[in-house]
């Protein structure tokens, strides 16, 4: 239809609306009805506009941030930058590299995943499969999990310092290495930073796992138990395989949350500078996020450092993205294998 055909129609509509308004003012009995009619028309377009605008704004801001980072970081990015270490001068765009930070960040995220998934899954299995839903213990655990999700990440950092390093690490040193002057366990380390991050991301994994466990048809559990399977066999052979995609979703969320976090590892493992890569779980490590902070606050020559500051951010985003993609690929493989059986 041509535009000409639309115009008189929309004019007609306007006219009808005006008449309706007039009627509304004149005739009391139609008042409520008309307000309702107008009430449907008016806000729906307003809300469409508002939500659309908000979406556009978010996309715009995101695009601006990414463009800004890429624009400024481009000159600092090079293959040498990604694979080189920091032995020369970590603040000089022509000499510095971020490989140790990539290594450290990837190591702490992967280790964290290894800690958080078993603990989170076992907790979720306990809560949904074993504990009575109304028992006080269950309610306390659930409340604790929910509150854990709301704790600021710096508090996890302090918790890691107090619990893992001073308490656990200190005791390990006293028990197994008495008389050693230098602490081995009782100091910031890759293992403690990963565990601190694991504590922080625990709620995500627990909630995702619980949700997927609850989605499993109760008939499957009954079928297994009626065949003489123990509860543990039922969980391991029937329940968990079904819940695997949900568990991996929890893992993906945990990775996303943890990869960019700096506060929890500040006191528990991240190093300002290290001449070599971490050799063991008790070594400290350099971290991309923390390195961004170091570059932006400690550089003697800001002009020489700025390109690598941005380039480091690009690498951090790239690594977070890559870790997420890896997790998503694993999940889709698992889903495919499961779907073949559905």
């Amino acid at each position: 239809m041509s535009k000409v055909a639309i115009r008189p129609e929309s004019f007609d509509t306007q006219l009808r609306k005006r008449r309706r308004w007039q009627r509304m003012l004149l005739r009391d009995e139609n008042l409520a009805w008309d307000i309702r009619r107008v009430g449907v028309d008016l806000p729906s377009s307003v809300f469409t506009g508002l939500t659309g605008g908000a979406t556009l704004m978010i996309v715009g801001i995101l695009a601006f941030i990414l463009a800004n980072i890429l624009w400024n970081g481009w000159s600092g990015l090079s293959w040498r930058f990604v694979v080189a270490g920091t032995t020369e001068d970590m603040f000089d765009v022509n000499k510095a590299g971020v490989f140790p930070m990539i290594f450290g960040t990837a190591a702490r995220v992967i280790l964290m995943t290894l800690f958080v998934i078993p603990v989170g899954v076992i907790t979720a299995v306990y809560l949904t499969e074993y504990a009575s839903p109304t028992s006080p213990v269950t309610r306390i655990i659930r409340g604790a999990v929910n509150n854990l999700a709301g704790v600021p990440s710096i508090v996890f950092g302090l918790f890691g310092l107090g619990f893992f390093i001073s308490f656990v690490g200190g005791h390990l040193d006293r028990l197994f290495l008495p008389g050693t002057a230098e602490p081995v366990w009782g100091k910031p380390a890759l293992v403690w930073a990963s565990m601190t991050l694991a504590v922080m991301t625990l709620p995500v994994v627990i909630v995702a796992t619980e949700e997927s466990l609850r989605a499993i048809l109760p008939g499957l559990r009954e079928a297994s138990l009626a065949l003489g399977a123990t509860k543990l066999q039922t969980v391991v052979k029937v329940v968990l395989p079904q819940a695997l995609p949900g568990i991996l979703t929890g893992g993906i969320l945990a990775v996303s949350r943890a990869a960019g976090e700096v506060a929890p590892i500040l006191f528990t493992g991240a190093a300002y500078y290290m001449a070599h890569l971490p050799q063991s779980l008790t070594d400290q490590f350099m971290d991309l996020g923390y390195h961004v902070y170091v570059l932006s606050t400690q550089s003697p020559n800001i002009e020489l450092t700025r390109p690598i500051l941005y380039a480091t951010v690009v690498v951090l985003l790239g690594l977070t993205f890559a870790l997420n993609v890896a997790a998503i690929v694993i999940r889709s493989r698992v889903r495919q294998r499961l779907r073949a059986m559905h």
Binding site: L220, E222, L225, L227, G228
Partner: protein, 276 residues
């Protein structure tokens, strides 16, 4: 602890034991005495006393909500899994009190297979479904598993239909095939008793007929207790019929007598379709 019931003692005979003469060769296997069950405070079973014979089909009929499933689940202690269930009375299977503390529930359930109203194959391959019960018992030998899978599928009249796709998903089968798969899965571990809770209620007439044929075949080897709200089905396949109403056992007798000459007015009304 109640003493094991002497099967020779005739209880209020037509109500609890069923007629004996025609089935003298079938010894009593399950002896239920004064069994009551409460979900919280709601009484679901009220002093059920019944004696079920081996290698016959015993059908439990009654309107829905009268406690048939609850009763069935008492026999393999599936009600243990539900919170706030309280049980009184006794159930003896082969003279063993299954609610005594010495009884290992896991071992008990290996002796008593169960087929559910809604077919519930595992989302695994047909083969893995059948092998599941044996594998959890630790059977690893491939040849033994292969043999058990084939035998169970043949016994469940499913072998010809699935022999070429044993390793594809059980979820790809039709509803009737899935239910026969569940029967095959239950008999793979060679239980003594098979409990069936309305196994054909979700199936079309043709699939139902196949299940009924299968049940008649299986009773040569297994003791079958079946719950159904379909009276024609009970009449077609069972040797004994028990009529439940509002948690009580109203009447229990040979199927032939129940359907031709019931002792109680209530039974007659139900069977002739006057209520329920």
């Amino acid at each position: 602890m109640p003493a094991p019931m002497d099967p020779l003692v005739k209880l209020d005979s037509r109500i609890t034991v069923g007629s004996t003469e025609d089935h003298a060769s079938h010894a009593p296997l399950i002896e239920v005495k004064d069994l009551s069950l409460w979900y919280g405070t709601a009484n679901a079973l009220d002093h059920i006393t019944v004696l079920i014979r081996e290698r016959v089909v015993t059908a439990f009929i009654g309107p829905s909500g009268c406690g048939k499933s609850t009763f069935l689940r008492c026999l393999n202690r599936m009600n243990d899994l539900i919170d706030h269930v309280r049980i009184a009375g006794s159930v003896h299977i082969a003279s063993q009190d299954i609610y005594s503390h010495e009884v290992d529930v896991i071992e008990l359930r290996k002796r008593i297979g169960m087929v559910f109203q809604k077919s519930n194959p595992f989302p695994k391959s047909i083969y893995d479904n059948i092998a599941y019960g044996l594998r959890i018992q630790g059977v690893r030998d491939r040849a033994a598993l292969d043999e058990a899978v084939e035998k169970s599928l043949r016994d469940a009249a499913l072998w010809e239909e699935v022999k070429d796709r044993l390793h594809s998903s059980a979820m790809g089968l039709s509803g009737g095939q899935q239910q026969r798969l569940c029967i095959a899965r239950a008999i793979a571990i060679r239980p003594e008793i098979i409990l069936m809770d309305e196994p054909a209620s979700a199936l079309d007439p043709l699939a139902t007929a196949r299940i009924e044929d299968l049940i008649l075949e299986l009773k040569k080897e297994f003791t079958i207790v079946i719950v159904t709200h379909n009276m024609q089905q009970a009449a077609r396949i069972s040797d004994f019929t028990a009529f439940f109403y509002l948690g009580k056992l109203v009447e229990y007798d040979t199927t032939a007598r129940m359907f031709t000459n019931p002792a109680r007015k209530q039974t007659e009304d139900y069977i002739t379709g006057r209520f329920g």
